[in-house]
């Protein structure tokens, strides 16, 4: 209460200045809101259109009415897909592939990044750059040689990989591991060197330093890498299109396209519904992990 009184007393004598600084700041704020608004519209209109379309029957979709309005809303598309064993199968395949890929990616890239960021060994810097360079090779360039390799592997060992959903567990990490390793190298490198030296003096082994110091401290980076790996494996289209063909082996993005487009007949209502439902899991994962994505977790480790 005392401090309030003091502030009140001082208030009439305080001169409020409208300097060029505050005017600049105000304009900067207006512009940033303007561009944020444009960007939000740009990215939200397509999902909105998908949602509107998903509530329409086939007749209404092809009718020449206002495409932005639903005159006869129906849940038939949702019921149809969610009761279809085939669609649930795609969903299940996608989930299995994504969860396994995220796990495999993390198990490889976290120790790899730790080694590349902290253990000084011959060629470690070159290796770190090399890891990133592999990420720059596009999948459109790789799918043919990979297909030939798997085919040859099948002929040679008798183990059939092509047209099995688990082939994707081998293929996807070629995309996720380099990038996640690279993200984690960056995060690990930002951890002060003294922290692992303190741990080593405290008696921790390399493995204990990784699990008890580095992973908890680099949790935001770990989450970023997890989100990335999940998104890549959930949304990947080219590889599953090439490597899987039987309907029971398909993942969601490919499944929707191959089963809901029959010849030149596009089942738009269900395609839109499937795409919307398919976009839900990444959204849920984002929302869930964002809570743990607390920036500045390293604050307090050292001075500054």
């Amino acid at each position: 209460m005392a401090s309030t009184a003091v502030i009140d007393k001082a208030a009439p004598t305080r001169v409020v200045k409208y300097g060029s600084m505050s005017r600049d700041r105000k304009w900067a704020l207006r512009w940033s809101y303007f561009f944020l608004g444009v960007f939000a519209m740009f990215s939200l209109v397509p999902p909105l259109y998908m949602f509107i379309t998903s509530l329409k029957g086939s007749a209404e979709i092809s009718a020449a009415t206002n495409p932005w309005w639903v005159f006869h809303p129906t849940a038939a598309n949702y019921v149809g897909l969610l009761t279809s064993n085939q669609f649930l199968r795609f969903f299940w395949n996608s989930a299995m592939v994504s969860i396994f890929v995220v796990t495999i990616t993390m198990l490889i890239s976290v120790p790899a990044a730790f080694a590349l960021a902290r253990m000084r060994f011959w060629g470690s810097a070159t290796l770190a750059t090399g890891v990133f360079l592999t990420y720059l090779v596009p999948d459109t360039l790789l799918f043919l040689p990979l297909f030939k390799m798997f085919a040859a592997f099948g002929d040679w060992t008798g183990i059939q990989l092509i047209n099995r959903w688990y082939v994707l567990l081998i293929v996807y990490p070629t995309l996720t591991v380099p990038f996640c390793t690279w993200i984690m190298i960056g995060y690990f490198a930002s951890i002060p060197k003294e922290l692992d030296e303190a741990a080593i003096i405290d008696g921790a082994s390399w493995f204990q330093t990784l699990t008890r110091i580095f992973i908890p401290v680099a949790m935001p980076g770990l989450i970023a890498a997890t989100i990335f790996a999940f998104t890549v494996s959930w949304a990947q289209f080219l590889y599953p299109l090439v490597f899987t063909t039987s309907t029971d082996q398909l993942v969601l993005p490919v499944g929707i396209i191959t089963t809901l487009i029959k010849g030149d007949v596009f089942n738009w209502g269900q395609i839109m519904t499937g795409a919307l439902l398919g976009a839900a899991p990444p959204l849920i994962i984002y929302a869930f992990l964002m809570d743990y994505y607390i920036a500045g977790l390293t604050a307090g480790a050292t001075k500054g």
């Binding site: 002060p192 003294e194 922290l195 030296e197 303190a198 741990a199 080593i200 003096i201 405290d202 008696g203 921790a204 204990q208 008890r212 110091i213 908890p216 401290v217 949790m219 977790l297 390293t298 604050a299 307090g300 480790a301 050292t302 001075k303 500054g304």
Partner: protein, 366 residues
């Protein structure tokens, strides 16, 4: 509890020799401070004792055992870093007990050790906080606590107070001294701050360019520096150096600074410098506190002269004065009431009983 011995220890990074074959004996329970300018190899030496750096050549012994190839965790040492290096995701108690938990100490023992260390460092109330909720001084206490609970053979401090503000630094300095008086563990402390070195150390090791310049007690280094580097490094404001030479006038030795300024040497000094060549280029080293305002009845060995003051710096307790002799800026300390003013002349007295004479070429104190 253990002594630490370094024998001809060398550290080479590619072509650069950071530490050039140093010998050092640190007794059990001793507090030794390594001090020197940046790049003098003091931190490298400490890190070699810790085992965080391999040694290129020589031997390091802790408690009589050669530890050259012993990993840090098996050397039974604890280290406090300049930037604290606390684990940010752990509470104060978890930070302090991390080492003990890794070694699977019984829970009760860990708890009692952490409580005891927290009480000693006055951080009992902070035990459940995370490092980011602590101030710089508190973080440094936790870092010390983490070292204390381990009850190691040797404490290593790597510039632990450099990140603190001046007031807190003085406070923590006393704190560190108190802790050492209580736990009496052999301590090696690295700093670039000569005041820290003087106040904390049983013995100070002055390092320069990868070599040890001098080892001695703080008083020893202050009053009997062996080289120009030590003489100039220890003490603040630094010792003055004026080019000079010795002369013989009527059988009495004189020290000549300029054509106009020459002082007779006090008998004790005259005897000491008897064999110094009269043609040699020398430096007179004199500390600022031995240049004061002239008194009415000067004691033997105290010579007076006149100087026009360049700049004066009133410090409250004393006033620092600066004037030029032979192109060198000389600093003195006078009484605040002596009437020292910028640009004004003042009669000054120099205490030659406390002078040092150095060889200008080699920098060795004669």
């Amino acid at each position: 509890m253990a002594d630490v011995t370094l024998r001809k220890v060398i550290k080479r990074y590619d072509d650069v020799e950071a530490v050039r074959g140093i010998d050092l004996d640190i007794a059990d329970k001793e507090f030794v401070v390594l001090v020197g300018p940046s790049g003098c190899g003091k931190s490298t030496t400490l890190r070699m004792i810790a085992g965080l750096e391999d040694i290129t050549d020589g031997d390091i012994m802790i408690g009589g055992d050669v530890v050259n190839d012993v990993p840090p965790k098996d050397r039974d040492i604890a280290m406090v870093f300049q930037n604290y290096a606390l684990y940010p995701h752990m509470t104060v108690a978890e930070n302090m007990s991390f080492g003990l938990r890794l070694k699977h100490y019984p829970k009760a023992e860990i708890k009692s050790r952490v409580t005891e260390a927290a009480r000693m460092l006055d951080i009992t109330d902070l035990i459940d906080r995370k490092p980011k909720q602590l101030s710089g001084g508190q973080r440094q206490r936790v870092a010390m606590g983490r070292a204390i609970v381990r009850n190691p053979k040797v404490f290593l401090f790597d510039e632990p107070l450099s990140n603190l503000d001046a007031k807190l630094r003085v406070q923590m300095r006393i704190e560190i001294k108190k802790v050492h008086q209580k736990v009496r563990t052999t301590t090696v402390y690295v700093t670039h701050d000569q005041v820290e070195a003087m106040t904390l150390a049983d013995r100070v090791v002055v390092m320069n360019r990868g070599c040890i310049e001098q080892i001695g007690t703080p008083n020893d280094l202050y009053h009997n520096p062996a080289t120009r580097f030590v003489a100039g490094f220890i003490g603040s404001p630094a010792m003055n150096f004026v080019p000079c030479r010795l002369e013989e006038v009527g059988g009495k030795p004189l020290i000549r600074l300029t054509d106009r300024i020459a002082f007779p040497l006090p008998p004790a000094r005259a005897a000491r410098y008897q064999n110094v060549s009269r043609n040699e280029k020398l430096l007179l080293g004199i500390r600022p506190e031995h240049i004061t305002e002239a008194k009415a009845h000067p004691e033997p060995g105290i010579e007076t002269f006149d100087a026009v003051l360049d700049v004066t710096e009133p410090m409250g307790m004393e006033t620092l004065i600066y004037f030029i002799v032979q192109g060198e800026e000389i600093c003195g300390k006078v009484n605040p009431n002596a009437g020292a003013r910028d640009g004004a002349p003042l009669r000054l007295a120099v205490d030659l009983n406390n002078m040092h004479l150095l060889n200008e070429a080699t920098g060795v104190v004669l």
